[in-house]
């Protein structure tokens, strides 16, 4: 179960099928090793974090390999894997535009909350205190804002799930 959910996670994060399976397996091994020495709060929260790191490592290694072949230097954003990774789809100029339009259409308060959380990494409590909102209300704005952004991406035909391979 843990392994199949990890594969599902990695696939939705844009990893190829074979890569997702390898990383999920490696993640499970690491989770087991960690659980021997300390108690794990959330298996999935920790598992996703490990999987994210392994995925980034893998992309880096692949880009290095590809760059070495072309004599290029090693920097991110030049990954040469065949399928565009999810992040790159969402970083495209079109995606930025869609994000921007969606943010502009939101109520000003919701946009303010989202920007503070995403860009300045402010805590819900700090945002709430500044804007006279309860932490719950801040949480609600973030949740609704994220769903709005997700819908906007879908409407624009930028469905990240369709870009896996």
């Amino acid at each position: 179960m843990v392994q199949s959910r990890l594969i599902g996670y990695l696939r939705a994060r844009g990893a190829r099928a074979d890569l997702a399976e390898d990383i999920a397996q490696e993640t499970v091994l690491r989770l087991i090793a960690i659980s021997r020495t300390k108690e794990i709060g959330s298996v999935f929260a920790l598992g996703f974090r490990i999987a994210d790191n392994l995925l980034v490592d893998q992309h880096r290694a692949e880009s290095r390999y590809a760059d070495a072949g072309q004599g290029g230097d090693d920097h991110e954003g030049q990954w040469q894997n065949a399928a565009p990774s999810l992040e790159r789809v969402l970083d495209s100029r079109r995606a930025i535009e869609v994000f921007q339009r969606c943010l502009n259409r939101m109520p000003a308060l919701r946009r303010e909350v989202l920007v503070r959380r995403r860009l300045r990494n402010e805590s819900c409590r700090a945002i709430g205190e500044d804007l006279a909102l309860s932490s719950k209300a801040v949480e609600k704005h973030i949740t609704r804002g994220l769903v709005d952004l997700r819908r906007a991406m879908e409407k624009a035909g930028i469905d990240p799930a369709g870009w896996n391979e």
Binding site: S4, F44, A108, R118, R144
Partner: protein
């Protein structure tokens, strides 16, 4: 998949993404996150997509007007030119956002200047407080409460001790009390909050309806019910009778209550403090109805129930082993 079902999953995914990012995660939250992920393969997919979206550089650029503006100014493409350019549009939206900010700036300003009042009740004395909105609060001995009323909100924080709230009903302005990370929200009602040593919180509702949000979830409590939040453990209380808590009338109903908790409550109202010789005695359990204004009687009773000895010296009662 039904559209409404998808919307529900996406909302839940967004909420989990926000919740799991915070550093404070108790074991109950962690367990319910794991259960949610395990429940349905669509959950993990939605969660992963939300995570990608939130972490994407694209969103960061879109949210950061100056940076995105520079990027676009450097390479205005044909599509942008056709629509009058991202620049022109953004400037207009910027102005609109500015006006919106101005519109909310006035009431926010008033709120910022609303003073916070702090009330303290000394040991052995209950303090009665009437707030500007007409709400009545009874603050038990040794308790501390701060209150802030703004034109649109009524917020209080019970830092320690116990308080009974009889809240004046207002349709628009809710009344919320924070107690050690739990939040109790009401519209117009009467309820009691008790913050005990070790972070245990007890809420009892005597009239109306309240919502309690703790680390591991949120509950709606109608009159006659209550809730105990103790770390990750949550227990509901039933059959709370009367229109106000017994301690206001000087009574305490112990139901399989730890001795140290009973003494903690007793010391709030007793002029002569009670102490245990050995903290381990605090784990003994007591059941019964005690009249808190008669500490010596209680001390005698407790000693009799558990075969302990008691003495009075240097202005305090001491309970110890025989």
């Amino acid at each position: 998949m039904m559209a409404s079902e998808r919307a529900e999953i996406d909302s839940a995914a967004a909420l989990w993404l926000e919740r799991m990012r915070g550093p404070v995660q108790d074991s109950a939250v962690a367990a319910s996150f794991d259960a949610w992920i395990a429940e349905d393969p669509r959950h993990v997919e939605s969660y992963a997509l939300m995570a990608s979206l939130w972490q994407s550089e694209g969103l960061a650029q879109a949210a950061c007007p100056t940076r995105a503006g520079n990027d676009n100014a450097a390479g205005l493409d044909a599509a942008d030119a056709r629509h009058g350019g991202v620049w022109g549009r953004r400037r207009w939206f910027g102005l609109a956002a500015g006006l919106a900010a101005l519109a909310v700036a006035v009431p926010l300003g008033q709120g910022l200047f609303a003073p916070t009042h702090t009330y303290e009740a000394s040991w052995g004395a209950t303090r009665e407080i009437t707030l500007a909105d007409g709400s009545h609060i009874q603050l038990s001995g040794g308790s501390r409460l701060s209150v802030r009323l703004t034109p649109w909100s009524r917020e209080a924080e019970l830092e320690k001790g116990e308080a009974f709230f009889d809240v004046a009903h207002e349709a628009l302005r809710g009344f919320a009390v924070e107690a050690e990370g739990a939040r109790v929200e009401v519209l117009g009602t009467a309820f009691d909050i008790d913050v005990l040593a070790g972070g245990r919180r007890e809420v009892r509702v005597y009239r109306g309806l309240v919502q309690v949000a703790g680390e591991s979830g949120a509950w709606r409590l109608p009159a006659g019910t209550g809730l105990i939040l103790d770390g990750a453990h949550v227990r509901s209380l039933e059959g709370i009778g009367g229109d106000r808590p017994g301690w206001l009338d000087g009574w305490f109903d112990a139901q399989d209550t730890r001795l140290d908790r009973l003494i903690e409550r007793l010391n709030r109202t007793s002029r002569i403090p009670v102490e245990l010789d050995d903290p381990q005695l605090g784990e003994l359990r007591v059941t019964g109805r005690f009249e808190m204004h008669r500490p010596q009687e209680i001390v005698e009773t407790l000693a009799a129930i558990h075969g302990l000895s008691w003495s009075r010296d240097e202005g305090r009662y001491r309970i110890g082993r025989q």
